[in-house]
């Protein structure tokens, strides 16, 4: 009998939020948030039913469209655990996995090995976005006996590289069809997913223009919200409609003069990840600090800062196959887990276009790909844009209130300094 307790709790929580919005609508927050939660509930209910029916799940990081086109269900990560200490205890003390590593990967692993997330039938891994992610997938695979298919993303990004990756995806398809009963690749479905996601991405790119406005009309919470990829959703039509309505609402609020934070005094970019919880966002709002840009692996591609446009024949000198398009939009678009230039160049570009005053470089334990780039990031931001960077050490899941208090204290001092210097 599948353990669906984690998802049942999530569904109950989301339903409570939806009820809260219906009973006490707050004009400060976006109306489409309710629709977003409804979509998440639908997705989770579908997952619970799939688990109960023993349908096959998979974890294909950054190539999720192919996962859906093969007929796998997709599990969710460890973003919303309420008792991180419990899961960390499982992973570190019970099973012996590393303590000083990325929270997100640790929580996801703990959820899987404790049986609270569905165990995938197949996992894929490659070298983006980072080692903790790849290693946690290796760990889950080796510990649980899950089939693992290693993909190699070449270091270069030219035509030969994307062809190589596309061919590997072909091998992955054969592997899955042979290894998991009932799995069959549907290319028409893949194309439909890619085209749906392409439309959604168009909406996102339009909202990037709003971020250029001063004051920024989008709140930090909404900047942090990861954009939905509707193609793989259980209800793709409704999910795509949400993406359109979300775009419309952002423009509507901007036209009405609703700002992201009251009395904007400073504009910051934030990198990598953030603490889960309200305190930091409340601090930003209180200080009048807007955050037009959240910089992580695929955000430059999502918002058009770097080109990764589906169907663009000019990028590689030819039309890409559907599998190559999967690579183009995900793995090849990720600016993490590669050399410094894609990460820093795209950050600088976004900061320039969005008139950013300062950058918060969020450095989590185990996040070598960001932490060991901090000096280069800060130096180049100062040299090329004249803006300061705060190296802010923190976690996604803080174990004590004191830790997050201290972190926010450092953040506040930096923000105050930047605001004072700006005047």
């Amino acid at each position: 009998m599948a353990n669906t307790e984690y998802f049942e709790k999530e569904i109950a929580n989301l339903k409570r939020r939806i009820k809260n919005i219906e009973e006490r609508p707050d004009p400060r927050y976006m109306k489409t948030t309710k629709l977003r939660y409804e979509l998440e509930v639908e997705h989770l209910i579908d997952m619970v039913e799939a688990m109960q029916d023993n349908k096959p799940f998979a974890e294909f990081y950054e190539i999720g469209q192919l996962q859906s086109a093969l007929g796998f269900r997709h599990g969710v990560g460890g973003d919303r655990v309420r008792d991180p200490y419990h899961y960390k205890n499982i992973a570190v003390n019970t099973f012996g996995f590393p303590e000083h590593t990325c929270d997100r990967t640790m929580m996801a692993l703990a959820l899987i090995i404790s049986g609270e997330l569905p165990i995938p039938r197949v996992m894929t891994t490659h070298r983006t976005p980072c080692d903790p992610h790849r290693l946690s997938y290796l760990a889950a695979s080796e510990f649980l006996g899950v089939l693992l298919f290693e993909l190699v993303k070449p270091n270069s990004s030219g035509e030969a590289a994307i062809r190589c990756f596309g061919e590997q995806l072909g091998e992955l398809i054969e592997f899955c069809e042979k290894s998991v009963a009932g799995i069959k690749y549907d290319e028409d479905k893949l194309i439909e997913i890619l085209e749906t996601n392409h439309i959604a991405r168009g909406y996102q790119i339009e909202t990037y223009e709003l971020r250029k406005r001063v004051p920024c009309p989008i709140s930090p919470q909404d900047v942090f919200r990861i954009a939905l990829s509707p193609g793989g959703h259980v209800n793709p039509t409704k999910a795509l409609e949400y993406c359109r309505l979300y775009r419309d609402e952002l423009f509507e609020r901007a036209e009405k003069g609703i700002t992201g934070v009251p009395d904007e005094k400073l504009r910051i970019a934030w990198t990598a990840s953030a603490p889960f919880g309200r305190q930091t966002f409340d601090l930003l709002s209180r200080k009048g600090v807007s955050m037009p840009w959240y910089h992580f692996g695929v955000s430059p591609a999502m918002y058009g800062v770097v080109p990764a446009t589906y169907g663009d024949d000019s990028a590689y000198g030819r039309k890409l196959t559907p599998l190559e398009e999967v690579a183009r939009g995900g793995v090849f678009a990720n600016v993490w887990g590669t050399t410094a230039e894609p990460w820093v160049d795209s950050l600088i570009k976004a900061c320039r276009e969005l008139k950013i005053d300062a950058v918060v470089d969020y450095l989590m334990p185990g996040c070598i790909t960001t932490k060991s780039l901090k000096r280069i990031t800060a130096e180049r931001l100062m040299e090329e844009l004249g803006i300061p960077t705060l190296d802010l050490e923190g976690r996604e899941f803080f174990m004590t209130e004191g830790e997050i208090f201290n972190m926010n204290k450092k953040l506040e001092e930096f923000l105050d300094m930047c605001i004072a210097n700006k005047k």
């Binding site: 290693l135 290693e150 270091n155 410094a340 070598i368 060991s372």
Partner: protein
């Protein structure tokens, strides 16, 4: 040549990568007009660099504890080898390096190369893929990458890489591998004819020397070593040491000093370096190099942890090791993530196993001694009580 003279030659070779000696070969290569290509990646495609008329040189980091310069760039809680290598660069210890060849081995190495490029602005810098993936698609692509790397190396060195030149380079490197394999066989004997620190000294020396010169030296020494007179160390446990980026023989001196014999290793600076030959008769030499690269024994940063653990266990059995000591860098993400799987495999095979964290520099010596000593005591006790297991 008499035994004393050969013993001195052996001692000289063992010290080839010591701080005092490791640049000797650099100076010699430079005097011959050769450029030096540095790397920290365990799978640096040395043959291609060699065929381009340059000296491939494995970087050793600083062996003291001061990493204050490097800590301004890289996270202190990250790969200590990378940290100490960057420190060496920033101190000016590596100013003789003309170019770098790097890989996507792991996040730590990628960031080291990023910093290196920014700080040093090397005249030459290229990368390649370090995966062990044996898909023919990937291996063919890697061959394509190697060919492109070769073109870049040619332009930098001004020396054309011909097929014959590359084949000759592969032959030289295969000879190194064969000689080291032969050399390692000496460790299987009931009384190993060469100590753990001596072996590590020699394997790391091979990474900073001209290979033809190294081959000639080891070839001359092997007959002497076959009949070398060593003091018997009866009753001492036989140990396999597993680690990454271990290049300071002092660690193994400390371990052997507690009363054991390090008879085998699972090191990128040791056995993993010379396992597997390249097909030197292949029509497509870049493809042959790519296959060898894919087929080599795995490291923790690579896919296949169970196989890696089983390989270590098999080596321990082949060399009749009584136990395995893993000296891991506390901040090596790959080793940390892999550890529950390795521990489980060791227990399954009843192989006595202990994990001891270490820095890149030799430090916390008494802690290391205490833990090694305790492990050896348990091994001796287990040996004295038939059927007793300590795993």
């Amino acid at each position: 040549m008499d035994a004393r003279a050969l013993e001195m030659r052996l001692s000289s070779l063992v010290k080839g990568n010591s701080p005092e000696r490791r640049k000797e070969h650099v100076l010699k290569a430079k005097s011959q007009g050769k450029k030096i290509i540095g790397s920290i990646c365990p799978c640096m495609p040395e043959e291609v660099i060699y065929a381009a008329g340059m000296l491939p040189w494995r970087i050793t980091g600083t062996w003291d504890s001061d990493v204050s310069r490097a800590a301004a760039y890289l996270d202190l809680d990250s790969c200590q080898y990378c940290l100490h290598s960057l420190e060496a660069l920033l101190r000016g210890d590596l100013d003789f390096i003309d170019g770098m060849v790097g890989s996507d081995w792991d996040d730590d190495q990628r960031r080291l190369y990023d910093t290196w490029k920014r700080v040093s602005k090397p005249a030459f810098y290229e990368t390649y893929s370090a995966s062990l993936n044996k898909s023919s698609i990937v291996v063919r692509y890697r061959a394509h990458e190697l060919a492109e790397l070769a073109s870049a190396l040619e332009r930098f060195s001004g020396h054309k890489i011909t097929d014959d030149g590359l084949r000759q380079a592969i032959k030289v490197y295969n000879q190194t591998r064969r000689l080291l394999q032969q050399f390692y066989e000496l460790r299987k004997r009931p009384v190993p004819l060469i100590s753990g620190p001596e072996v590590l000294g020699i394997t790391t020396a091979s990474r900073v020397m001209d290979k033809a010169e190294f081959n000639a030296e080891l070839q001359d020494l092997l007959p002497y070593l076959e009949g070398r007179q060593v003091a018997p160390r009866s009753g001492q446990p036989r140990i396999l040491v597993s680690s990454d980026h271990l290049d300071n023989p002092r660690f193994l001196e400390i371990i052997e000093g507690e009363g054991c014999q390090v008879v085998m290793d699972d090191l990128d600076t040791g056995s993993r370096y010379f396992s597997k030959l390249v097909d030197e008769y292949a029509d497509d030499l870049y493809l042959a190099l790519a296959w060898r690269s894919a087929d080599r024994p795995g490291d923790a940063a690579m896919f296949g942890w169970k196989e890696q653990a089983r390989q270590t266990i098999q080596w321990a059995k082949d060399f009749r090791a009584d136990g395995v000591i893993e000296l891991f860098d506390e901040f090596s993400a790959a080793r940390q993530w892999r550890s529950p799987i390795v521990t489980r495999e060791m227990a399954r095979e009843n192989m006595p196993f202990i994990r001891i964290s270490r820095g890149y520099e030799v430090t916390n010596i008494e802690q290391l001694r205490t833990r090694v000593g305790a492990f050896l005591e348990m091994l001796l006790e287990a040996k004295s009580v038939p059927g007793k297991s300590i795993s």
